[in-house]
């Protein structure tokens, strides 16, 4: 939205391709948003492929065969595809009643639904706090928020102090106190129990490397888990954008390594809604051949400090049992992954083909990072090819009938 507004203000003709039915993305869900009236808003639309600066789009109800296809040739494209929750696997994480933190947030905000009556939130990062708040608002009892890290990593970054952001975090901390939701630091849900749905979880006190120090069991009817975020990079990778440290590499104007392709928001580094909007404004202006005066330095420094305070520590790998699923779609267990790794795993591609990990419906979006980290530990060497994890030339699933009737060239309005 910020990029579209900035580009429109700079005089460009702007099309906003939006995956959601209403403006606002994942963050402003349920709170109506507006864009510059000059922006053409294509709601419920998915860019399923990108060839150079040509976008192939389907518009209509999700996964319906009756969506309409359009092709847009752009002079510049700003990618702002966002991120989804990363969840590290643990025994029972595939049971119904285990949700990502983002799912709990979305169901609460847009559907008014509490995913359970007795809920534990677990993972790492500041996002867990607003999730707990949303859950309480829709009537769930949040028994506690498990933060796997100590949360004091901040103190090592005095220069990251950002009054606005600190106030926001303090607001959530105060909110938890007021709602009587305990924040359990250095703690994690390390197993979910139940036969056909979750009925209890094992909560562990963790060492700094996330190995288990001691455990206790509590009864719940839902668990919400989030270990940071995975950027949605398929379009950026399809466009040929260079990556750096797992994100799209951009300069100070949001330009990627590909001429005409800009990037903003979580795909350039996890930083939250405010930073994403600021980056969008900068990239949108640049894409329209203008320049924004917005400075991103302070907000970026704060985001980096936040990321530093909430790392994913390798001890999570000790939570798994041989039967724990690594890949939910193809139902590949940790044991099977190890066997495949021992047999032949020269890279992401061979690992997929020998174990079937990441070959299912989600195409490795949920498990890709976890599986490659497990395999790297097993082999005692990194074989992490960032782009290989996100190479999905068809960025979002479309039906074969849609592919058959899809226009290949832009069509003039009749």
């Amino acid at each position: 939205m910020a990029a579209a507004n900035a580009a429109a203000r700079a005089g460009a003709e702007v099309v906003l391709v939006d995956g959601e039915p209403t403006l606002g993305g994942q963050y402003y869900r349920g709170t109506p948003q507006r864009v510059d009236p000059a922006v053409e808003h294509l709601a419920e639309s998915a860019v399923w492929a990108m060839e150079g600066l040509r976008l192939h789009i389907r518009t209509g109800a999700a996964d319906s065969p009756h969506r309409t296809g359009t092709v847009v040739d752009a002079d510049a494209v700003v990618l702002a595809t966002g991120a989804h929750d990363r969840v590290v696997p643990f025994p029972g994480w595939d049971l119904p009643g285990v949700y990502t933190a983002g799912a709990a947030q979305t169901l609460a905000k847009s559907q008014g639904i509490a995913v359970g009556a007795r809920v534990v939130v677990s993972g790492t990062g500041p996002f867990l706090l607003p999730v707990a708040e949303s859950l309480v608002k829709v009537g769930a009892r949040v028994l506690g928020v498990c933060e796997a890290n100590s949360g004091t990593g901040w103190l090592r970054h005095p220069r990251a102090a950002n009054p606005g952001k600190m106030a926001e975090l303090a607001h959530y901390a105060g909110m938890l106190l007021k709602l009587r939701v305990p924040l359990w630091r250095k703690t994690a849900v390390v197993a979910a129990h139940g036969t056909d749905r979750v009925t209890a979880v094992t909560i562990a006190r963790l060492n700094p490397d996330w190995t288990i120090r001691a455990t206790r069991r509590i009864e719940v009817d839902a668990v919400c888990v989030g270990h940071g975020f995975t950027p949605r990079l398929e379009l950026a990778v399809a466009a040929g954008c260079a990556l750096k440290d797992g994100f799209v590499a951009v300069d100070e104007r949001g330009a990627t390594s590909v001429p005409g392709v800009y990037a903003a928001g979580e795909i350039t580094g996890i930083g939250g809604a405010d930073l994403a909007a600021a980056e969008g404004e900068v990239a949108g202006a640049a894409a329209a051949g203008s320049e924004s005066t917005k400075s991103l330095t302070g907000a970026r420094r704060f985001a980096a400090a936040l990321a530093d305070a909430h790392p994913i520590k390798p001890g999570w790998q000790t939570w798994l049992t041989p039967e724990t699923l690594v890949c939910r779609c193809e139902e590949v267990t940790y044991q099977a992954l190890c066997a495949a790794t021992d047999l032949d795993a020269a890279g992401v591609r061979t690992l997929k083909l020998t174990s079937r990990v990441g070959l299912g419906l989600c195409q490795g979006r949920m498990c890709g990072r976890n599986a490659t980290e497990l395999a790297a530990t097993r082999l005692d060497q990194a074989f992490f090819d960032e782009a290989a994890l996100h190479r999905r030339p068809i960025a979002t699933p479309i039906r074969l009938s849609e592919l058959a009737e899809t226009p290949l060239e832009p069509q003039e309005d009749p």
């Binding site: 949700y99 990502t100 169901l107 056909d196 779609c329 193809e330």
Partner: protein
């Protein structure tokens, strides 16, 4: 709006997703996996994991968390 879920008629509000309607009915899983026959429902809630698939108006493999219900929809779970 009126929709049917597994042949039973229900009244839903505009803006409800298929997943939202199922969860409101107290159903937390509505599909089983191909290999181990394990139950699945919503996991990611934002269209990424494909755990929540349902059939809508005879078309299979529709993400329940992404699909907004419209009047007259017929939802089937496997």
């Amino acid at each position: 709006m009126k929709v049917t879920i597994d042949g039973v008629e229900h009244t839903v509000e505009p803006g409800q997703t298929v997943a939202g309607a199922l969860l409101r009915l107290g159903r937390i899983s509505w599909r089983t996996t191909r290999n181990a026959d394990r139950p699945r429902g919503v996991f990611c809630g934002i269209g990424v994991c494909f755990d929540c698939l349902v059939e809508v108006n005879g078309v299979p493999d529709v993400r329940a968390c992404q699909r907004l219900l419209v009047d007259g929809d017929a939802v089937g779970t496997s």
